[in-house]
Assembly symmetry: C2
Homo-oligomer: 279 residues x 2
């Protein structure tokens, strides 16, 4: 296993680092970023928040734009940001921004040509944490968060693996992909036309049936252009009411889908995760 360091930047007394490695799950080279807070330099193992980004993003968007490192440094939490899809010249792609590279949707594709590489669910759930916990001074305490497509990924992954995550949060998540244009397009391509196979990747369907709970926080801007057609937080809230899921949904007046929204509330999300991660 070779893991190559690409960049190092000191940030709020800790370190932002990018790495490239060969992913056996995705069958290609992958890049990820990690923020190690100052506490990780003191021989102490710190917990990890995994951040899943939205459509078109890489490992860089959150690290550069969210302003998360200030609070991660204060609270002693590492942050890991993977890429949003497999990458490389031999990886299948689509002309749309919402399918193929940059749009892995955190599923394990079953349909050709996608099933050669697109296994982001397994990558985020298994291979990446194993790599992180073998390379860095981190504990096995994990939480997960994301934005938009990544918010969908975070909710699905936490609900399907409640023993593995202390808490989950999302900004502007796609909450019900089986019923929105982005989700239908991606799931048809990656999973095929049999919609019964889609349910295990739908946060609202999972939340409605849940019997084991991971504390969940969602923030959604009311001025988000994608709110009504793609995101549908009311569907997630209704599902939580059915199962009694511990979901806090904050609707934020005037805020849109951008990183300006994420930056405005990331401190609240990090403090929420710290309550569950830092004991």
């Amino acid at each position: 296993m070779t893991v190559e360091n690409i960049s190092v930047n000191k940030s709020f007394g800790g370190w932002h680092k990018q790495y490239s490695h060969h992913s056996k799950t995705l069958n290609c080279a992958m890049r990820f970023a990690i923020y190690l807070p100052p506490q990780a330099s003191n021989g102490k193992k710190v917990p990890v928040l995994y951040w899943l980004s939205g459509l078109t993003c890489t490992d860089e968007n959150f690290m550069q734009k969210a302003g998360a490192q200030r609070m991660a440094a204060e609270l002693g939490i590492a942050i890991v940001a993977p890429d949003t899809s497999p990458r490389g010249d031999d990886v299948a792609d689509d002309a749309g921004y919402d399918l193929g590279k940059g749009a892995g949707f955190y599923v394990n594709a079953t349909q050709a040509p996608w099933n050669r590489h697109y296994r982001m669910y397994d990558y985020v759930v298994n291979e990446l944490p194993e790599l992180i916990e073998s390379m860095f001074p981190v504990s096995d305490k994990r939480s997960i968060a994301g934005h938009s497509m990544g918010g969908h990924g975070a909710l699905v992954i936490a609900m399907r693996n409640p023993e593995a995550y202390q808490s989950v949060s999302a900004f502007s998540p796609i909450t019900n992909p089986v019923n929105c244009p982005w989700g239908k397009k991606a799931f048809t391509a990656y999973l095929g036309r049999d919609m019964t196979t889609w349910a295990e990747y739908d946060a609202s369907l999972l939340m409605r049936q849940a019997t084991e709970f991971v504390p969940a926080l969602v923030d959604q801007g009311e001025a988000d252009d994608f709110l009504i057609e793609q995101l549908k937080p009311e569907v997630l809230e209704a599902a939580a009411n059915v199962s009694g899921y511990p979901l806090t949904l904050n609707m934020q007046e005037g805020f849109d889908h951008s990183y300006y929204f994420i930056a405005s509330f990331i401190e609240n999300h990090l403090r929420f995760h710290a309550e569950h991660l830092v004991k």
Copy 2:
């Protein structure tokens, strides 16, 4: 005078906005960004911090990556970020990243072909503040700051107009452009080979001779790849010692030239400016 709004994002209870306007100084269309803190929505006039970016940047880099809006909202300070050069198909350019578009160096060019558009000094000192103060609920209290090439611009502009600025700060500024490769290349092109015309754009030469003072704060990373050849903070510090200039220079161990450095210390800079702007 037509000024076109390009984007609006709510951010920390205030508003980030981008505009395009025709600059008569630069003889082209220019874009700028403004962050208006929540206090500006309450019928109160807020002071303005002008931010000058470095080589290759636009109005977007600082607004997206510095994490400045959190403290600007708390302290009640607007931030204005202009572009770093004139723009457009008929604007002279160079193949290098350090001359031409994205590299205006905040000077008034005297040499062809640059003198048709490259008058960033006059734009930042006169036209832009007049426009800002006519359009937005801001007071005439101004401070100025910048990074690298923009740190050079901020220091030069504050020292040549001490009556117009309450305070000045810089991250990793080019302090002595007449004696570094970036400065020599740009000044030769924009100002010509007669080096006597360069002095009015050299922060260290201006600081050495200063008799009127603007409180100044500079942060410089010790792991900055450009430190020794291009930035030379020791020259600025020596100049301050000659004139008794009120300069605080902080050398920061381990930090580099990136926005991760700026984000780590922007709170200190905004608090410094607030001491002088918010009375």
